[in-house]
């Protein structure tokens, strides 16, 4: 199945952009390609992430089921199942899902050809209290099973019980993206604040952080967090980071961070940096907050001007933390489920070559626009601002864009919560 974007879908995109009041520019520039799409996999249950081998083999996760792989001939093999699954080559009963948590990110070792290794981020019940873990797995020769599981990180924060907050179920704010840097070869792991006010600025709890580790889970040489911090911490003071990619020219890690009813962020990371999120009560002008977490205050249950929210509970608190890393972009003060980041590269993308591609799940609250879309962002080389923001025409229509990855064929693949993986081809 291949479809061109119709006038109706394009007009829908334009209308959405106009309603959203976004700073968009026209996407029908003659310098940019026409797009078509095919559906690569469908009928999945809450798919979350994907990773490719050079021949097009695609590993993918489903949040409550486990790790699978699609071979270049289209066959799908189910490799590692979670609790209550029966149809996987291997099952690990300690791998559990709840709310936003479960099996999240997946990535392939840069030396897969030699070591046949992949990594996944998953919630686990193996410890006394549930944690998130990074699992290292060896893939067999015909890519039908995995073995030699080693949990290279076993102590990432997990939200153990419901609280009185929006999305307040257990497992919330779980982070979960993992990617190798092509620049330094280390594995970057993004985590979430677990609706716990103490976590983001904590020197020891691994939630609300970006970790940088080697293939054994040890701290990357050169990590520079403040004294007394866990040496695996690359950056801290994050809310819930679900997107990470690396600038194709500078190699700088760039993340997306979900905002709390306001101010989604794109941040270019600096080694040892503080992203300035600190939702503790009774500080920075705040009083008590529900369950000791001010993340959605001052008015977590009703609509309110996003900039008033920001004044009370800033996503980057530069008053308390003057040296905090400054965001490159804050989504026009809105929070719309900023979930995934990737750079488009290659001449086939014309005027979009080098653009940062950002996927949104879409969420509205108290009258704010839902904003399901993929943005194309021209981020400044220093990572401190953006030069231009436009919107990718969507040949398949809008959806909850959970993961975006450029495939080895140069096409753009996007995985959506609805259960599909699409391939977008420029022409």
């Amino acid at each position: 199945m291949s479809q061109k974007p119709t006038m109706r879908s394009l007009s829908g995109v334009m209308a959405t952009a106009m309603i959203a009041g976004l700073a968009t520019t026209a996407t029908a520039n003659k310098d940019t390609p026409e797009l078509s799409h095919t559906t690569v996999v469908s009928g999945l249950e809450n798919p979350w992430d994907m990773a490719f081998l050079p021949d097009g083999t695609m590993f993918f996760t489903e949040k409550c089921r486990g790790l699978s792989v699609r071979l270049p001939n289209g066959d799908v093999n189910k490799l590692l199942g979670m609790e209550d699954t029966e149809d996987y080559a291997t099952t690990a009963d300690d791998l559990v899902c709840q709310g936003q948590a479960g099996m999240n990110g997946v990535t392939v070792d840069p030396d897969f050809e030699e070591n046949r290794t992949v990594y996944v981020y998953s919630a686990s019940s193996m410890s006394d209290e549930r944690t998130n873990r990074v699992l290292r797995l060896k893939v067999n020769d015909d890519i039908s099973n995995v073995s030699d599981r080693t949990d290279i990180v076993d102590d990432i924060s997990y939200k153990p019980a419901p609280t009185d907050h929006p999305f307040g179920d257990a497992g919330a704010h779980n982070g979960g993206r993992i990617r190798f840097s092509p620049e330094d070869g280390f594995l970057y792991v993004t985590t979430g604040d677990t609706h716990n006010g103490e976590v983001p600025q904590s020197p020891t709890m691994l939630g609300g952080k970006v970790l940088r580790i080697d293939r054994d889970g040890k701290a990357a040489e050169g990590n520079n967090p403040p004294e007394g911090f866990d040496p695996r911490i690359f950056t801290y003071g994050h809310r819930n980071v679900q997107g990470i990619t690396f600038h194709p020219e500078t190699g700088q890690p760039i993340v997306t961070e979900h905002g709390p009813w306001h101010h989604d962020e794109i941040n270019a990371l600096v080694n040892g940096g503080n992203s300035g999120w600190d939702p503790r009560p009774n500080m920075a002008g705040r009083d008590d907050c529900p369950d000791n977490y001010c993340g959605y205050q001052p008015n977590q249950g009703e609509g309110m001007d996003p900039d008033e929210r920001e004044a009370y509970m800033p996503v980057t608190d530069t008053e308390t933390y003057p040296d905090a890393m400054k965001p490159a972009w804050q989504n026009n003060s809105l929070s719309q489920g900023i979930a995934t980041a990737e750079f488009l590269t290659g001449e086939q993308w014309g005027g979009w070559d080098g653009r940062l591609v950002i996927g949104f799940l879409g969420i509205g609250f108290g009258g704010t626009p839902v904003g399901q879309r993929i943005n194309l962002i021209d981020i400044a080389q220093d990572g401190l601002s953006v030069n231009d923001v436009s919107e990718l025409p969507l040949p398949m229509g809008s959806a909850r864009f959970r993961s975006i990855v450029q495939g080895p064929d140069g096409d753009l693949y996007t995985l959506v919560d609805e259960g599909d993986i699409y391939r977008i081809t420029p022409e």
Partner: protein, 105 residues
């Protein structure tokens, strides 16, 4: 001329029945696509931390939407559902309940 009581009752019953049957699934489908599908999914199977609606009968959907419309918390996504339901009319709720219960099995 007085109208016989049984005709009044029969008419009332017929009207009541007509009201029940008047749920407009087509309007419910449109409302669902505009207001619900982005979280519960185009086929109601649920996504992310948003629950499945499959197999829910019309009474359940009506009861939940009326509860949220009244501003009462039920479940961890109340903060999202209460403002979403705030402006729903009785007809909107009836139409949504009919569409969801008839189409998402």
């Amino acid at each position: 001329m007085k109208t016989p009581l049984f005709i009044v009752i029969a008419t009332a019953l017929t009207m009541g029945s007509a009201i029940v049957q008047a749920a407009d699934t087509s309007a419910g489908k449109t409302k669902y696509a505009d207001s619900c599908a982005q979280c519960h999914g185009p086929t109601g199977k649920g996504m992310a931390s948003f629950p499945s609606l499959a197999g829910r009968d019309a009474d359940y959907i009506t009861s939940r939407l009326e509860t949220y419309r009244a501003g009462e918390k039920v479940g961890s996504n109340s903060a999202l559902m209460i403002p979403n339901a705030a402006d729903l009319s009785d007809d909107d709720i009836a139409n949504l309940a009919a569409y969801i219960s008839e189409n998402f099995q």
